[in-house]
């Protein structure tokens, strides 16, 4: 290390282990080379050291999964180092979108007609009807501000806590996680009360008026985390 070069890898010790700050402006191959040499040259291991947790900060550099693996490989070759996590300031748009979608309610104003399928990752707020033959699918909960006459599937990712609510509840069937509730043979015409379908204590989907929902899920508000 006689040549004076720019510091692309900075190693800092914290009480939790090591933190490697990787420069985000140099090329990746340069970075790997320097990482390699830094790790072998600068660090003297004590025999009695237990594994040292390493956090890798990559700054504003976006690493592909493959590149992450190469860094992991490189670091884990050094006997005492254990990769804790690789942290980056940047994520791809897709990842950001997915993250956002999963934690967000999607509001859509539309009539879902026969043959149409509407699928969202998080919660769904539909302003409009779901007609017979139409399907709505949500990873989270479903709120229909209209008449639900088609198929609704909440908790698509398997969340048993999900529920379906509708201003007028006349679905052809409802699914929550892996449970299915079929429609009754006939819906009573009168009384357009807001209703809510959810899985009860016995593991069956029941439909109740919306006010009764809080009795079945007393800690629902906390679960949502005040978002």
């Amino acid at each position: 290390m006689n040549k004076r070069i720019q510091q692309n890898v900075m190693i800092k010790g914290t009480k939790d282990g090591l933190t490697l700050h990787l420069d985000d402006s140099c090329s990746f191959s340069e970075l790997l080379k320097e990482l390699e040499s830094k790790l072998s040259a600068n660090y003297q291991f004590q025999e009695n050291d237990s594994g040292i947790a390493v956090k890798v900060h990559t700054g504003n550099r976006y690493l592909l999964e493959d590149q992450k693996n190469r860094i992991r490989e490189l670091i884990s070759q050094k006997k005492k180092l254990v990769i804790d996590e690789i942290i980056s300031n940047v994520i791809t748009k897709e990842e950001a979108k997915q993250w956002k979608d999963e934690h967000q309610m999607t509001t859509i104003a539309k009539v879902i007609r026969s043959g149409q399928i509407l699928e969202v990752v998080g919660d769904l707020l539909l302003i409009g009807d779901v007609n017979p033959g139409g399907t709505i699918i949500a990873g989270g909960n479903i709120f229909v501000m209209g008449t639900l006459r088609g198929i609704a599937q909440a908790g698509h990712n398997g969340n048993q806590e999900s529920f379906v609510s509708a201003s007028v509840m006349k679905p052809s069937h409802i699914r929550i996680a892996d449970k299915i509730m079929k429609a009754p043979d006939k819906y009573i015409e009168d009384g357009h009360m807001m209703e809510c379908a959810f899985i009860n204590e016995n593991g069956r989907i029941i439909v109740e008026k919306i006010q009764a929902f809080k009795n079945h899920r007393p800690n629902f508000n906390r679960l949502e985390g005040g978002l």
């Binding site: 007609r113 026969s114 043959g115 149409q116 009807d129 007609n131 017979p132 033959g133």
Partner: protein
């Protein structure tokens, strides 16, 4: 430059062709220059309903494939001087004989010369439907007050709403039977419009005269006294932008209902 209106329904037998013929006739009666296009290749009917069957020389597929010029294939309806023309469908090919792009070009060309292009769409949602809607600016969905027809109309509306070049479709409820409505045996108009949630542009009563007229090749809209005819003429006026109230004419006249009942009793 005119506008192209596609008449569609999804389900067969609800009255697309009848509606196309009568709207075309009504618009021509109102002094507009109209071209009817039958896109039901292989099962053409519009020419029969219009009474122009025997005058067909070339057809839609001939035009598309360049075997003739458009004006050679257009059949002129002599009852309307120079205002009503029909471009008949081919009877020998099938729906795959043309593609949407060709249809779009054709309709676009016709729009230069006509005020209204009325496109009669075949039943179904396949190629024939795609061809029919390709050049359209507006769409009219025809349904009857039956669950099956409304279901199909719902599907069709969903497909039409996806098309960016077509304005939100309008609804015609056809074949309404007043006595069944009163008994609650039929879906009522509110039920249908609530279900489909699109604008209603007209309702047409079920009238035996419509069948007679179509058999004679003389669209019912030419009869100034018939209820169905008045309904079609009203739709045409609404297409032209007039605001014609729905219920005042179509629901009220008791005398005609009584006449109809007598007809039923007599048969």
């Amino acid at each position: 430059m005119g506008e192209a209106i596609v008449i569609t329904s999804g389900k067969g037998g609800v009255g697309k062709t009848t509606t196309s013929a009568n709207l075309g006739t009504s618009l021509a009666l109102l002094g507009k220059k109209v071209c009817l296009i039958d896109t039901d290749i292989g099962l053409r009917n519009l020419d029969v309903v219009m009474g122009l069957e025997n005058r067909i020389i070339y057809d839609l597929v001939d035009v598309i494939e360049g075997r003739c010029k458009i004006h050679q294939a257009l059949v002129k309806d002599k009852r309307f001087e120079d205002r009503l023309y029909l471009l008949p469908a081919a009877q020998t090919s099938d729906k795959t004989a043309i593609v949407p792009e060709q249809m779009y070009k054709l309709v676009h060309e016709l729009k230069q010369d006509y005020d209204y292009i009325i496109i009669d769409c075949p039943a179904g949602i396949e190629q024939g439907f795609k061809n029919a809607i390709a050049g359209a600016d507006k769409a009219i969905v025809v349904t009857t007050p039956e669950k099956s027809a409304v279901r199909d109309a719902d599907r069709i509306i969903g497909l039409l709403e996806k098309e960016e070049n077509i304005e939100p479709p309008k609804l015609v409820i056809n074949r309404i039977r007043n006595h069944m409505l009163k008994n609650g045996e039929m879906m009522d108009i509110d039920e249908v419009t609530n279900h489909l949630s699109i604008d209603l542009i007209g309702i047409v009563v079920d009238d035996e005269q419509v069948i007679r007229a179509s058999n004679e090749g003389e669209p019912i809209a030419m009869d100034p006294n018939n209820r169905a005819s008045i309904a079609y003429r009203n739709i045409a006026r609404r297409i032209l932008g007039e605001s014609v109230p729905l219920s005042s004419i179509e629901d009220e006249p008791k005398g005609l209902m009584a006449k109809l009942k007598k007809l039923f009793a007599g048969s």
